[in-house]
Symmetry: C2
Subunit: 219 residues, 2 copies
C-alpha cells in the first residue's frame, strides 16, 4: 500500500531511530518515566545525549511513540476477542477483562498514556480532515462503542442506552480498575486484608459488574 522506496540513508536513519526506541522501551518498561533519562538512554546506545534530539524533538515525543505502540497491542487483543463468536454477554465481558489484563502487563506504559494533560483523545475525524488518522486509543474506544451498540440492538442491553455515552462510562470503569492495579501492586488485596480472590478472577468479576450495569432489569 504505502510505497516505501526509501533511500539507503533513510533506511539507516530509521534503523537508528528504532534502536533508540527499543532501548527506551527496555528501560521504560522496567522503571517508567523516572528511570528513563535522555542521558542514560544515550549512554545505553553509545551516543551523546544531544544526538537523541536529531531523532526526536523531545523526551515527550519519544515516549509518545512508546505509548502508541503499546496501545496498538491492547487494540489488537481487544479486537481478537471482539471478533470471536462466543455468546454476546460473555464476549462483551471478556473484551473489558482483556483490556485490563493486557494493560496491566506494562504498568508504566499504561499510567504514562494517561498522565499527560491533553493527549490525543479524538474519537472521530472532524468532517473530512485530510490526513487524519485516529489514535490507537481512539480506535479501541470505537470497538467498545460498536460492541455496546450491538448489545442495544440485539436486546441484551437496555434500549434507552446511548452507546457513545455508555462506552465512556464502561471505559472509565475499565480504566479505573487498571489504574488501581497499576498503582497498588497488590490490588485487589489491600494491606492487612486477606486476598480472597486472584487478580484474574477479580478482573472478570469487575468486568461482569460493568456489563451488568448495561443489562435489562425486569423490575
Amino acid at each position: 500500500m504505502t510505497a516505501t522506496v526509501s533511500s539507503p540513508a533513510e533506511r539507516r536513519r530509521n534503523k537508528i531511530r528504532a534502536r533508540i526506541l527499543s532501548a527506551a522501551e527496555r528501560v521504560f518498561a522496567r522503571e517508567g518515566v523516572e528511570g528513563l533519562s535522555i542521558r542514560r538512554l544515550a549512554e545505553n546506545i553509545d551516543y551523546s545525549p544531544a544526538a537523541i534530539y536529531k531523532y526526536f524533538k523531545s523526551k515527550d515525543e519519544l515516549i509518545d511513540e512508546l505509548k502508541e505502540t503499546f496501545f496498538e497491542l491492547i487494540l489488537e487483543n481487544v479486537h481478537r476477542i471482539a471478533d470471536t463468536s462466543t455468546p454476546f454477554n460473555e464476549r462483551a465481558r471478556d473484551c473489558v477483562a482483556t483490556y485490563v489484563m493486557i494493560a496491566v502487563e506494562k504498568p508504566y506504559h499504561y499510567a504514562a498514556a494517561f498522565a499527560g494533560e491533553a493527549a490525543d483523545n479524538r474519537v472521530a475525524p472532524v468532517d473530512d480532515e485530510p490526513g487524519f488518522e485516529l489514535s490507537k486509543k481512539g480506535q479501541a474506544f470505537n470497538v467498545l462503542r460498536g460492541m455496546i451498540a450491538e448489545g442495544v440492538e440485539n436486546g441484551a442491553f437496555r434500549s434507552e442506552i446511548d452507546p457513545s455515552l455508555a462506552a465512556k462510562s464502561v471505559w472509565a470503569s475499565m480504566h479505573g480498575l487498571t489504574m488501581m492495579i497499576v498503582h497498588i501492586p497488590s490490588f485487589p488485596a489491600l494491606k492487612a486484608d486477606q486476598a480472597t480472590m486472584s487478580r484474574e478472577d477479580f478482573i472478570l468479576f469487575h468486568a461482569d459488574q460493568v456489563i451488568r450495569g448495561l443489562e435489562m432489569h425486569n423490575e
Copy 2:
C-alpha cells in the same frame, strides 16, 4: 481528648510547618507536582531551601500531608451523603457521584494521591497494632463497604455479593471516572464529538450504572 500542652517553642514550630504547608497547597492546587519545587516554595515563604528539611523529611512527605488533608475532605462529603435518609439506591448512587465530584475539584491532588507506587492502602489494622490509625483513604473505602453491606442485607443488591469485593470493584469504577476527568479536561466530551451531556449529569449516569451492576436481576 489529646492533651495539647505544647510549649511555646512547639507551637511556634507548628505554625511555621503550617505556613509551609499552606504555601505548598496554594502552588500545588494550581500547578501540581511539576510546579511545586522546594526552591520555589522556600522563596515563597522567605526561607532557604534547606530550611524546609528541618520540617519535612522530603518533598514526598510534604506532599503526602497535602494528600491526606485532601482525602479528609472527600471522606467528610461522602459521609455526609451516606448519613442522609434518602431512599437507599439513590443514596448509594449519590455517594459514588459525590466522591467523583469532590475529587475532581482538585485534580492534581487526586492524581498525586494515586501516583506513588505503594502508598498506604490499608483497610484494617492487623490484629491489635498499637498506634494504628487508618488513612482517610482507607476510611472512605470502609464507608463504601458498609453501604454495600447494607444493600445486600436489605435486599437491594444481589445476595451472593461479597461487600468487600464489590466495594473494591465500585471503588475502581469511581476512581476510573475521576481519573478520566482529571487527565482529559474535556471529558466526557471527546475531541470532535459534540458533548451530549453535562459533566454532572454524566457523573450521575456513571454512578447509576455502577450501582445497577450490584442490583438484583430477575432473569
